[in-house]
Symmetry: C2
Subunit: 368 residues, 2 copies
C-alpha cells in the first residue's frame, strides 16, 4: 500500500518548533499525545546513519508533560508506579512503568523530580493527565495536576555533548545520566537533562514558554553548523537496535511491567503505595516477555500490525510488535513478545509477515 | 505547505474495516483516539456533495467505547457529567458534556445506556478510560471499566434509511432519534442507533467482534449498490455547516460546557452527583461562547491553527477554531469562540488568517 497523506487540524497540536521542522523538510508525520511528530526527514535509513555519526535536534514536544505539585504530589505519583520514589533526588529523572490497580501498563514516562512537592511526568502516548485527575479527585488529594507550557527538544548523537557545551557550557555537559539542571537561557527558564530516546548520547531540553521555541532552535543550528547538525526525530531503526520500547507498539494495557521487561523498576518490597502493588505481587513470573528477535531474509517493510510468531512445533509463540531492516547489522531487527517455552536465546521461531513466512531467532541482547 | 505523509505503526490502531477503507481509496487520514480515521476519499468537496445526496458508510471505529458495568455504573458516569442521567432509559443515547472537578471539558461523547448497570461511552478524542479508572479506584466504586471490542460503523446520508431497511429491516428503521436497538446479524450481536456525526440522517452500527467487520461492510455495499453507496468519513464542510463541534478543535480543557454552547445539557438543579457541579454553578454566564461565523472572500485553506478575531475597535474578540469553504452556501463557514461584547448576531469582526485579514460576521444559526 502506498503511503497516504496526513490531514492536520488544530486538534493535532502544533509545537513551538513546527515551522522550523517544516522548513527542515520533514517528509512524514504521525500523531503522539494529540501532537504532531515528524517521523522522517530524508529517509529513516539516512536519518539513522546521520544520528549515529553526528548530532540531531528533535522536536519531541509530543512528550507532553503533566505537572504535579502540592503536599500530596509524591503520594499521587507513587500510586501509579511500582518504582519506589522515596529516595529520588530533586535533580533525578526516573524511567518508570505506570500501572493501574490491576497492574496493567498505562504509560512508561520519564519522571522528572523538580522539588520535594513538584514533578513533571514526561509522557508516552496516553492521557495520564486524566488518570491523575481521577485519582486526585477520588482520594481527595492536596495536589494540582495540569499540563504546563513545556516543550521538550532533544539533542541526540555522538556530537551532542559538543553542541551542548558550545551553547550551554561545560556545567550542563557535566550533568550525569538521568539527572537534570535548571538554567536561564535567552531570558527563559528551562531544565536540561542528560536523557533521550536513543542510545547515541545526548540531552533533552525542557523549554518553558511556547514563544521561545524558534530562538532556541536557531541558536542550536547556528552553533552546530560545522558539526553537521540536522533536524531529526526518534528513529525506528536505532530505537529497535537499542531496545527502546514504544508505548502503544511494544507496550499496551494488556501487559504488566514484568512482561515488558521492566521488572527491574518494580520495587515490590517497598513501593507499597502503588495501587497496583497487590496485583503485581502475583505477576512477577510472567509466561511471556519482551525479547529481541532477529528475522532472516531480505529487508522487510515496516509493520503497521502485529505479526504472529510460531515455534518449531507450529504452536503460537507470541508476536512481533516492531521490526525494521538494520543497515548496520544487515538483518531485520525486531521486538517480540515471546512465550516462556520459546524465549531462550537462540530459539528458532517462524514469523508470519505480510511478505510471507520468515525464519527468526531469539537473541540474548539488543543490538546497541 | 504541501500535505505531508502519514507514517503508520501498530500504535496507530487499525480497525475491522481498514482493508476495505484502503480498497475504497482513502486518500488521507488522521489519528483519533490512537486509531486511524480516513479524512477524504475523492476530495472533501466531492465527498460532501455525495453525503448530502446519497448514502455513505463511515469507519468510525475511532469513536472508541468505554464500557462501564456494575452496581455503581450510573454513579460513576454521573460524576463526570452535568447532564442528569436519572431518567435515561435503557435504549437511549445522550450527547453529554463530560467535565472534571473544575468544570473543564474532558470529552463530549454519546452515552449509550444498555441496562440499568451498563453503559457504553462513545468517545471523542481523549482517553476517558483513564479518568474513569482513576475515579473508580479513588472512590472505591463497585464497577468494571474497560474498552470492549466494539467498532462503530456509521451509515449517513438521505438514503441511509433505505439502505438500513434493506439490510436490517423496517423495525430498525423505526428506531427513534438517539435511541438504539440490539440485534443479532450474521450471527453477531450489535446495537444500531439512530445517530451519527452529520445532519444528513442515518445510523451508527456498534459492531461487536473485530473479526466480523468485513462481512458487515460488504453486506452494506452489496445491498446499496443501486443507491450509489460510497465509503465516506466525517466531513469537515458538512459538520461545520451543521454546528457539530469537534473535541480538540472547538472544545478543549480550557472550556466549560456553557462556553461551548452545551448549557442545555447541564441540569444544574438535579445533576448534583457531577463532581464539577459546584464549580459549574459559578460559570453559567460565560464571557465567551461558540458562535457560527461567516468569513467573507475567496475560499480559505483549511486551518491547522486557531485564527485570532478582532472587533471593529481592533480589540481581541476571540478566535476561529474551524473554518472551510462551503460550496452550497458560497461562503467560508466557521466556528468561533466569541467574546460576549461581540457575539450578537450580525456583529462585524475581522479575522487574521494565514491568507491575510478577512471581514467576518457573527450569525444567529448554523447553516444546516
Amino acid at each position: 500500500m502506498s503511503q497516504p497523506l496526513i490531514s492536520f487540524s488544530s486538534r493535532l497540536r502544533r509545537t513551538p518548533f513546527s515551522r522550523r521542522v517544516e522548513a527542515a523538510g520533514a517528509k512524514s508525520y504521525n500523531i503522539y499525545n494529540h501532537t504532531i511528530l515528524a517521523t522522517a526527514y530524508h529517509s529513516i535509513e539516512a536519518d539513522y546513519a546521520h544520528l549515529k555519526s553526528a548530532v540531531q535536534v528533535w522536536d519531541v514536544t509530543c512528550q507532553k508533560q503533566v505537572e504535579i505539585i502540592g503536599p500530596d504530589a509524591q503520594r499521587l505519583v507513587q500510586m501509579t508506579t511500582p518504582r519506589d520514589l522515596a529516595k529520588m533526588e530533586d535533580d533525578q529523572c526516573y524511567y518508570i512503568p505506570m500501572v493501574d490497580a490491576q497492574g496493567a501498563m498505562l504509560n512508561d514516562p520519564v519522571l522528572n523530580k523538580l522539588a520535594e512537592d513538584r514533578y513533571w511526568v514526561s509522557l508516552a502516548d496516553s492521557d495520564m493527565l486524566y488518570y491523575f485527575k481521577g485519582l486526585a479527585n477520588g482520594f481527595g488529594l492536596e495536589v494540582k495536576v495540569f499540563e504546563p507550557d513545556v516543550s521538550p527538544l532533544a539533542v541526540q548523537g555522538p556530537k551532542a555533548d559538543e553542541l551542548i557545551r558550545r551553547v550551554f557550557g561545560q556545567e550542563i555537559v557535566d550533568t550525569r545520566f538521568f539527572r537534570h539542571k535548571p538554567i536561564i537561557f535567552q531570558g527563559q527558564e528551562m531544565i536540561i537533562a542528560r536523557s533521550g530516546w536513543s542510545l547515541q548520547g545526548g540531552f533533552e531540553i525542557y523549554l518553558v514558554g511556547f514563544e521561545n521555541g524558534e530562538a532556541l532552535w536557531d541558536t542550536l543550528f547556528e552553533a552546530g553548523a560545522d558539526l553537521d547538525v540536522h533536524a531529526g526525530c526518534p528513529n525506528l531503526i536505532e530505537r529497535i537496535e537499542s531496545g527502546l520500547l514504544s508505548y502503544g507498539n511494544d507496550i499496551t494495557l494488556d501487559h504488566t511491567p514484568f512482561e515488558v521487561g521492566l521488572g527491574k523498576y518494580c520495587n515490590m518490597d517497598t513501593a507499597t503505595g502503588c495501587l497496583g502493588h497487590g496485583a503485581l505481587l502475583g505477576k512477577q513470573n510472567p509466561s511471556r516477555q519482551i525479547r529481541p528477535v532477529e528475522i532472516d531474509g531480505d529487508p522487510l517493510s515496516v509493520a503497521p500490525q502485529l505479526w504472529p510468531l510460531k515455534n518449531q512445533s507450529g504452536e503460537s509463540a507470541g508476536y512481533i510488535s516492531s521490526a525494521v531492516w538494520s543497515p548496520d547489522f544487515h538483518t531485520n531487527v525486531a521486538i517480540g513478545m515471546v512465550n516462556k517455552d520459546d524465549w531462550e536465546p537462540g530459539t528458532r521461531l517462524v514469523v508470519d509477515t505480510p511478505e510471507g513466512t520468515r525464519e527468526a531467532r531469539v537473541r540474548d541482547e539488543f543490538w546497541n
